[in-house]
Symmetry: C2
């Protein structure tokens, strides 16, 4: 096991009716920027619950944040924060709104030249405005971690930044807010959560059996509960379990003391930047290809995954590993997400640029740092 530090200051407020807690979480003298996305919160009652809880507060709204939030959209909000002397950012929506809010909170207090610098150059922040969230789409784990992903259309970039100053102060997780999500987003959330766990688990063993077991506990739960959410959308406990699973999958707990991969995410982000494919769907498309390509390097963990998560009992380890990858694909198919490029009407030639851009940057991916442009090209072929 590796050395690590673990510090997660976010307060989780979880359950039915908890949006009303906002009035206790935010002192009355704060001037709040309420950020949101396409406006579904104004149709499903979430906005009304928020405004009722904040009826004593001064609230300014900033809506229209898109999925894969854009730098220019965030910078418009930064101007409002500065002009209006905003004290606190309240994100109401899913991971995209929250990621944008984290960027806005950081950019508002950034003292360097262009705020994009702290993303592109991974510069540390000195401070950020405090923020909190009402989460309506369990998937990204952003509600309880220091990460955000921001896109910049003009350069084709989709980049992550990580800084402890953007941990939300609190996250309100009311599973009932997820009842009105389209099936596609529910499935995406399950896949996103699943792949978050996989990227922290299917690496190489460092003799950290507890971390393995914790990861497997979330994977087993997703395999059992994910399909239920599609079959019975109004089952509260299933919604609650998926929401809590999404938080625990990426609240920095699972990766403590172990190596992590993130190849699937990095390649997936570029597919989103190039062709606008939903984030989770890019993961379902590339994960099977990454696992096939890295079968040898990940063999021991893949076998463990096959036995413990998929209950495979064959004596032949090689069969267990192949079956484990096949079961993963089957699971994604049961959630009606694409599992290869053809499923989204693309060919390897259409996404050639992913490999080329890594060539240009000279970056390598994976827990061993051995996946370069050539290997990415091979993975893309395996994902055909």
């Amino acid at each position: 096991m590796y050395n690590f530090t673990y510090h997660n200051p976010t307060k989780i407020v979880f359950g039915k009716g908890t949006i009303a807690e906002l009035k206790n979480l935010l002192s009355n003298d704060l001037k709040i920027l309420l950020t949101y996305g396409g406006g579904s919160i104004k149709k499903n009652g979430v906005y009304d619950q928020v405004m009722t809880a904040l009826k004593e507060h001064k609230v300014i709204e900033y809506g229209g944040i898109e999925p894969n939030p854009q730098y220019r959209t965030c910078m418009q909000a930064v101007r409002i924060v500065k002009n209006e002397n905003i004290d606190f950012i309240l994100s109401v929506g899913g991971g995209s709104v929250l990621d944008a809010s984290k960027f806005i909170a950081a950019a508002a207090l950034w003292r360097g030249d262009e705020p994009w610098d702290f993303v592109r150059k991974s510069l540390p922040l000195e401070a950020a405005l405090p923020l909190g969230c009402v989460l309506t789409l369990p998937a990204t784990g952003s509600e309880s971690n220091p990460n955000a992903v921001i896109s910049r259309e003009e350069t084709g970039e989709k980049l992550a930044f990580i800084d402890k100053h953007v941990f939300p102060q609190f996250a309100i997780l009311d599973p009932e807010t997820t009842y009105t999500l389209p099936e596609r987003q529910v499935a995406n959330g399950v896949v996103d959560t699943f792949v978050h766990v996989i990227e922290q688990y299917l690496t190489f063993p460092v003799n950290a059996p507890l971390q393995d077991r914790l990861a497997e506990s979330i994977l087993l739960t997703l395999v059992e509960e994910g399909p239920k959410a599609l079959q019975n959308p109004l089952d509260y406990d299933t919604r609650a379990t998926l929401m809590w699973a999404a938080t625990l999958a990426l609240n920095t707990l699972l990766s403590r003391g172990v190596p992590t991969d993130w190849t699937t995410h990095q390649i997936g982000h570029e597919l989103t930047a190039l062709h606008g494919i939903d984030h989770a769907r890019t993961l379902a498309i590339f994960l099977p290809a990454v696992l096939k390509h890295q079968k040898k390097a990940k063999f021991k963990k893949l076998a463990q995954y096959g036995r413990r998560v998929w209950g495979l009992a064959q004596d032949d380890e090689n069969q267990v590993v192949d079956q484990a990858i096949a079961k993963t694909i089957e699971f994604f198919k049961s959630l009606h997400v694409p599992v290869c490029l053809a499923d989204v009407n693309l060919t390897p030639a259409d996404v050639r640029q992913i490999s080329a851009s890594h060539q240009q940057r000279g970056s390598t991916l994976g827990e061993h740092g051995t996946i370069g442009p050539d290997e990415i090209a091979e993975i893309i072929l395996l994902a055909a």
Copy 2:
């Protein structure tokens, strides 16, 4: 699943050589009270590592804190804190030293009459001195929770208090500090951790499958890794896994959204208060009896526990449940701890007072609140 809040502000610093981090965790201008127990830290090098890290700091020592820390011992330290204007309490040792330190931190700023009041009457604190710890014995989880247990010999009381103000600011967990523990304390730590998980898991189902899986992941790890620590005391990864397991078992995560029991702990605390039996050993003595007595109420979870943790595959659920309890006893025996009163040379008559004191207080125990004095008397007979 029940509604819940989850907020754990403790920063964990985990791994080999991390005691040196103290100099970065504590600013130089703090006047520190270093609390410790019987003095083993002065023999095993831990004290030297701490003092090297704090060579720029003003440190006053307070040693001699006993296992099951006593109120009068803590109150002596409170006087020192006040006379010396101590700013920060640094606990170096196991759960007893840390629990005492939490009490000292709270009592030092208590504005009521007698500090024992906030324990006995469960009064909320307004404040506590900040504290941190270097943990040398993984067991109680106190390093990352708001709980402490304090004893008062003159009244025969051993009582818990819980308050968010006594979460440690940081906890340094260096598994190498546990190499020199006597086998008895290593075994006690595994049992304590195991029963912490059981008390949050073996209750009644509330359709919270993720919480179940998380609990099972820690139990499975303890079953596999616990005996290894006795067989191969210098295996770093085993020590590290047990240390991290002890923290996660009682850092308030497992109990979010589910009912908890604590019957075994409550009866066990009284056995310690009456006869000085090690805390973990009281748990090993009473848990099997509690499970036998509550077999019907806990039937569904006991069967799940048998299948998932012990791999029992019989068709007959009743056999699975009985076998699960038998396996638990076997596991405790493999760690060389007593599993009944006879193993510590006591009879049910010797501990009759436990039932009588509950009669007097009118308290009931268990997740259903149905375990009163008569049931406690029955459990004591089952633990003969």
